[in-house]
């Protein structure tokens, strides 16, 4: 993937979509900056419920990491929700709705062993990046 060299923006003040690897707690925390930093989350968490059918064709389930649990919803369109196995670690990418306390997933599948190995490090890096960014907000 090659960047266009004509691409000229000021990175320091630039606001563009970020995709953050996070734990559930971290996701809740960072989502308060939604208005300032557009973002999606990538979670590695264990499926902790059956998949049930909700309103508007949404598929509902819970995922857990440690003691934290979050409700998830996935709307099937062209892609059906694959069969998820309760108790396994899954990779969920989506948008966290603070008001409803729901992670609206755009993608969910079993986590690869390599992803699980790297997950902690990815979360650590994302947290550091966000902490530094949030600090710049409070300075202004």
């Amino acid at each position: 993937v090659k960047a266009r060299p004509t691409f000229q923006i000021k990175p320091a003040n630039e606001i563009s979509l970020r995709i953050l690897s996070a734990v559930i707690d971290g996701m809740r925390h960072w989502s308060q900056f939604r208005d300032k930093v557009p973002h999606l989350f990538e979670l590695f968490a264990t499926l902790d419920s059956a998949v049930t059918l909700g309103p508007h064709g949404g598929k509902n389930f819970l995922v857990r990491d440690g003691k934290e649990v979050v409700q998830c919803v996935y709307y099937e369109n062209e892609k059906e929700l694959p069969r998820l196995i309760r108790g396994q670690v899954h990779r969920c990418v989506g948008n966290y709705d603070r008001v409803r306390n729901v992670l609206v997933c755009v993608s969910i599948r079993p986590a690869l062993p390599s992803e699980q190995r790297n997950a902690q490090e990815a979360v650590r890096v994302c947290d550091a990046e966000m902490r530094a960014l949030v600090k710049t907000f409070s300075e202004v």
Partner: protein, 438 residues
């Protein structure tokens, strides 16, 4: 390098009067020009260099080459403790005019001679030690003015060089030979640190060269801190180099001939010769007409050689700072697939030989450089998508995402033209919707 160690065995203690007194006197009076210098202090060659003398102290060495006339130049090696040698290294650089007071003059070792140092016409070499000699920057304007033009004279016959075309044409028959090269600088690579299989550390830098016969030729500097420092100051597309005694070898990784600068090489920047000035004008013209940028794009780099990892934010910074295209790896998410635009923007027809874009119903390739122009025309429809990629530091917009990588990642194959459009359109639009669902 091992030359230095051997020398030291022969002369463990420096005694100033082993050379005829009259010779030492003359040397004392002459101001000499540094025209090349070897730095033997790099960590990489430490083992070969550190030498314990009778007092159990580590001794360091550093070599350079000086010249005071178009025809004569001589190698100098300085010996001493770490502080003395480091001070000396930092006190002057290539191209400076220096005075050497009272060096020890010795015959070259007949066996080792100039094996790891530049070949000089002199039968002597000089040794500088803290106790007996001094190297001073020359402050005499008259002398400096006389010496400065020497820096732009090649140390070899200015007509005795290979063009890059010669090297390519000779191919592997030149593997391992040491020759002179005259070429223009196309681009300067980045400094790379590496560790050899036996644990020694070194640094390497690559410089791309070109001339009127070859538009792209790789030259690498290895080990030599001084050569790397010099290379870093060169202006791409505006510099001509005379590389005296550069080693030519076959690089099996790149499957091409490569020139390597080593301890024997003396580099003359923008030499004052007719051939160099012709090449300089050629390079300037080519650079101004954009001839060099065109070819840069078609160059194919092995994927394994791309190892620099960037976050999206780092990529953005670098794209602004750097005028040259660069390669790197980013771990990020595709956050936008642009398939809202018309099919003609998602799928393009390209020549199968040179990948040049052609019109859908075109009868021939419009690229004049296409290697297969005579062999009949064949074109294929390929993905040509615009995507955004995101990570925790931000989003890079408008990245080009093409076949065959796009086909592999999307797990979609291009169908024959009649069936292609509906099939592709339906499936990718689905992906787009998927992202927007956020």
């Amino acid at each position: 390098m091992s030359d230095a160690a051997v020398t030291c065995h022969c002369v463990p203690l420096i005694i100033p009067n082993t050379a005829p007194a009259w010779l030492a006197d003359i040397m004392r009076a002459v101001r000499l020009r540094v025209c090349g210098r070897r730095d033997e202090e790099t960590e990489s060659i430490v083992q070969a260099l550190y030498y314990r003398d009778y007092f159990g102290e580590e001794r360091h060495t550093f070599g350079f080459t000086i010249r005071d006339s178009p025809d004569f130049f001589i190698n100098v090696s300085a010996w001493g403790n770490a502080v003395y040698i480091n001070t000396l290294i930092n006190s002057f650089s290539i191209g400076d005019c220096v005075t050497i007071d009272n060096p020890l003059i010795t015959h070259k070792d007949p066996e080792k001679a100039d094996k790891f140092v530049p070949t000089t016409p002199s039968i002597y070499r000089l040794t500088v030690t803290e106790a007996h000699s001094q190297v001073l920057n020359c402050a005499d304007i008259v002398v400096i003015e006389r010496m400065v033009p020497l820096a732009r004279l090649p140390v070899k016959d200015p007509g005795d060089f290979y063009t890059l075309g010669d090297i390519v044409a000779n191919g592997q028959t030149l593997d391992g030979t040491v020759i002179n090269v005259l070429a223009a600088v196309r681009s300067i690579g980045e400094l790379k640190q590496f560790t050899t299989s036996d644990g020694r550390r070194g640094q390497r830098m690559e410089v791309k060269l070109f001339d009127d016969s070859v538009s792209f030729f790789l030259s690498s500097c290895t080990w030599d801190r001084e050569a790397i420092q010099l290379a870093q100051t060169l202006m791409p597309k505006e510099t001509v180099l005379f590389l005296a005694d550069v080693k030519i070898s076959f690089d099996s990784f790149r499957n091409a001939m490569v020139a390597t600068v080593n301890g024997k090489t003396i580099i003359t920047v923008n030499p004052d010769t007719r051939e160099a000035s012709l090449l300089f004008s050629y390079a300037k013209d080519l650079s101004e007409t954009g001839g060099l940028d065109e070819e840069e794009k078609s160059e194919d780099v092995p994927l394994e050689s791309i190892t620099d990892v960037y976050t999206v934010n780092q990529l953005k910074h670098k794209a602004i700072e750097e005028s040259e295209p660069f390669l790197g790896v980013t771990y990020s998410f595709i956050s936008k697939l642009d398939v809202d635009s018309s099919v003609s923007k998602v799928i393009r027809t390209r020549c199968t030989r040179c990948k040049f874009q052609v019109s859908e119903d075109g009868q021939s390739c419009t690229n004049e450089m296409c290697p297969g122009r005579e062999q009949g025309f064949s074109a294929a429809a390929v993905f040509d998508l615009l995507v955004d990629v995101s990570d925790h530091t931000g989003t890079l917009q408008g990245c080009i995402f093409r076949s065959p990588v796009a086909e592999k990642i999307l797990d979609l194959t291009m169908l024959p033209p009649s069936k292609m459009r509906p099939g592709v359109k339906g499936v990718i639009l689905g992906s787009q919707w998927l992202i927007q669902e956020r």
